[in-house]
Subunit: 229 residues, 2 copies
Amino acid sequence: MVKSSSNILKNVSTDCVIFGFDNADIKVLLVKLAVDPGKGEWALPGSNILYDEDLDVAAKRVLCEFTGLENVYMEQLQSFGKTSRFPLFRVITIAFFALLKIEDYSLEPGPKVTETQWHSINKLPKLPFDHNEIIETARKRLKQRVRIRPIGFELLPQKFTLTQIQNLYESILNIKLDTRNFRKKLLNLKILIDTHERQKGVAHRAAKLYKFDKRKYNKLKEQGINFEL
Amino acid sequence: MVKSSSNILKNVSTDCVIFGFDNADIKVLLVKLAVDPGKGEWALPGSNILYDEDLDVAAKRVLCEFTGLENVYMEQLQSFGKTSRFPLFRVITIAFFALLKIEDYSLEPGPKVTETQWHSINKLPKLPFDHNEIIETARKRLKQRVRIRPIGFELLPQKFTLTQIQNLYESILNIKLDTRNFRKKLLNLKILIDTHERQKGVAHRAAKLYKFDKRKYNKLKEQGINFEL
DNA sequence: CATACTTATTGTAAATTATACAATATTATT
DNA sequence: AATAATATTGTATAATTTACAATAAGTATG
């Protein structure tokens, strides 16, 4: 089925901020645009919403069209609508964001994209439009989120060490944490299960591997927690 | 200056959720619509965004056009964009919300409105479109907000009693709080100043009146607090 | 094998904060 | 003087937070 252009909401788009974590940094998924406007630049996956398409459906579709990612659950971040944000005509964009495990997904640049790449959130290039601002807003949201909900299940491998999850929190909050206190507090949530396995292939004492107790994790995610660090 | 209809973004609107407090309940400002769609129904103040108008400017303009309210600082809530939300054609709305002191503002129904009225958030009529859902989302946001920022300056009269502010928190959170513990915790924030005045005209022991230390209040509002109750 | 190297793991005392709980104080009214 | 209504306050116990560094367990090296 070919969609005629009358199906497009010309003045409304969606952009996707996809966060991942590689044990050192928070990463953002960017695409190198193959077409104007913004040709040759790194940008967020984003495009127009269709006339008869719900917002979350549009975000999913656009993400897939640009990066090949499927089955990504995104939450709405907020709208960005400065009159000057898009150079050609007025476009209000509704930004979505998601957290995911980098290694669980494979990327496939779509037709409007020459390349997809994970970029460290601390070393982003200058992006077109207001995409840097959108990412900054998403980052703030993530920072806030981390204090009121458990996090990690979405970003860490299934089995992980306490050091890894501490690194995750440190990356998000951009602060150093006291290991002893962090561990006490984290273990106190009782959402971690000791797998009795250990790290392999490291040139030092191997750390214990943990996994999340999905049920308890989700319960706390709904309830909300108070995780001041 | 007459704006031609080409200045309107046909598929994008803004809706305003204005919260107030009357010492008993959280109130929402509604307007009775004078024109279709929704004629005769209570609804949120809302209308199209203009082509060359920033989102926050649009929200301010629409609020003023519908209710006469000026100088209201609104924050973006989120977008609502179900394809079915508006009966005539596709309209995505960007909702804003604000908190304000009811008695500080005077209402004046605009041309598309026959009446404006504060409605208790617990006794809302059925509103057209998805306006009930929008209010519910705003309420959740407020509930969340209260745990991470001080609140009250926007909703209470300049001088207020500790009982009033406790009522405010109880209304928002929809729970009963222990008076002794609440007061200890609140006073501990050190954002209240004892005015050494007292309530007047009550048929019982008059309560002390407090006011906010604006400087400290704003500082905590920026920093964020942890106000678990 | 002994030593160095690297990261993982753990405890404790002191301070602070949270919690549960009800008697007394102050005014206006009768 | 008694009543009615709401305001105000304290304390003991439990739980949590904070600051702080020594020891453990592997691998790598000579």
